[in-house]
């Protein structure tokens, strides 16, 4: 019997605490598949954020630490400086990375820190129960904006990938989505390239992953995929924003 698909050894054989249909699980798997395929599971150190994925260290079969809210890029910078020969990555949500941790991610990019950030943008604070994030779409409802986000009060949603792509040290920047098998395949390719960039120590690499939060969007998992495709992708266009020649 030939294998077409098996769950990666990068994921530990336990159930996750994520809600049914939450695409955090897919993002986890893709990162671990890439590290497994590149033979890097034993060489990697991951940094978990504050957010639903704080417990990602229970699932990812690499050495990992938790980090204070938003500070994962600083922690990863410290690890990177201490361990020049390892693979280092952060896995962060949009509250963590785009809100409280905006300064840290900008400066990881600015210094061109040679690690990889997987930015799981689900347009909401998942863990704390659905408050408005910087990435929440106009009109999207949240527990701190029950009538939907309004531009006059909260501004337009922050496009993090576009912002970071203006920074020289962010040598690889791509936005992907987890709403269809085809997009998931592309997402994996982007994550793979991001780690290729890191293996070559070319600079900071960044993949923004559009993801769902059925629980706080108030939609079922299948509706959530559709909502992502219909509402998030138009505002957060998919595609590569920066890529060094070396990995093309």
């Amino acid at each position: 019997m030939k294998k077409i698909f098996e769950y990666t050894k990068g994921m530990l054989p336990v159930s996750t605490h994520y809600c049914p249909g939450c695409t955090h699980g897919i993002a986890h798997r893709l990162v671990m598949e890439v590290l497994e395929e590149r033979g890097l599971l034993g060489e990697s150190i991951g940094v978990a954020p504050i957010g639903c994925s704080i417990l990602s260290h229970n699932y990812m079969n690499v050495d990992m630490c938790e980090s204070a809210h938003g500070r994962a890029p600083a922690v990863a910078s410290g690890i990177r400086r201490a361990m020049p020969d390892k693979i280092v990555f952060t896995y962060q949500g949009d509250g963590d990375l785009a809100s409280i941790g905006a300064g840290e991610i900008v400066h990881a990019a600015h210094r061109g820190e040679k690690f990889t950030t997987i930015f799981v943008n689900n347009a909401i604070y998942g863990m704390t129960g659905g408050q408005m994030a910087p990435t929440t779409l106009i009109g999207q409802k949240s527990t701190t904006g029950i009538e939907g986000r309004k531009k006059e009060i909260s501004g337009m949603p922050l496009r993090v990938a576009e912002m970071l792509a203006t920074i020289d040290g962010a040598v690889f920047v791509e936005r992907v989505a987890l709403n269809t098998p085809a997009n998931i395949r592309k997402a994996k390719k982007a994550i793979d390239k991001a780690f290729a960039v890191q293996e070559k120590r070319l600079g900071f690499s960044f993949v923004e992953v559009l993801s769902t939060c059925p629980t706080n969007w108030g939609l079922n998992p299948v509706e959530s995929l559709k909502w992502l495709g219909k509402n998030m992708i138009p505002y957060y266009p998919l595609g590569n924003l920066r890529s060094p020649e070396e990995v093309e």
């Binding site: 809600c19 049914p20 639903c52």
Partner: protein, 176 residues
């Protein structure tokens, strides 16, 4: 000096929190001391919901309980997880529409309430929580039925007024 320590558990969307609050509210209307404490934070993830209601004639020290005088379980995992919380001699109300598992404790009184089925017969499966509430009140007399009815009228008013009649029926359907 009667103190009821009620623990209600099920999954999100079953209206667990609502009936807990209603009991506390009714208690307050009767001048009793009441506290209501829902589970909160990430422990809710995965769709479970539970809450603790205390109704007492004396000031309530702590809204967290280690033993309940009464447990209401609306789904099977909740029964398995919380069966042990009931004090000896206490009561367990089981939503038999969703729970096939038997209560294993022998030192408690078990009340089987087919609340899901009853609600379905009344025309709306989602009123199962109110059916269960009716059963609870009739058995244990934590608060008066009138108080609960008052609260019910308040809850189902305004945009939800059309649900009032159904729920009034749900409340009163259960017979001991």
């Amino acid at each position: 000096m009667a103190t009821h320590k009620i623990f209600i558990a099920g999954f999100g969307g079953q209206g667990i929190i609502l009936i807990g609050q209603m009991i506390a509210h009714a208690g307050m209307l009767e001048g009793k001391e009441v506290t209501f404490l829902p589970s909160y934070g990430p422990e809710m993830r995965g769709g479970t919901a539970n809450c603790t209601v205390i109704v007492s004639d004396a000031p309530i020290s702590c809204p967290i309980i280690d033993q309940a005088t009464c447990l209401v379980v609306m789904n099977q995992p909740s029964l398995i997880r919380f069966e042990k919380i009931v004090a000896p001699g206490g009561d367990i109300f089981v939503n038999t529409s969703l729970i096939k598992h038997k209560v294993e404790r022998e030192d408690v009184t078990v009340h089987n309430v087919d609340s899901g089925e009853i609600a379905k017969e009344l025309g709306n499966e989602r009123a199962a929580n109110i059916v269960m509430l009716g059963a609870l009140i009739k058995h244990l007399e934590i608060v008066k039925l009138e108080s609960i009815e008052k609260v019910l009228a308040e809850v189902f008013s305004g945009s939800k007024a059309d649900l009032l009649q159904l729920n009034q029926r749900a409340l009163s359907t259960w017979k001991k």
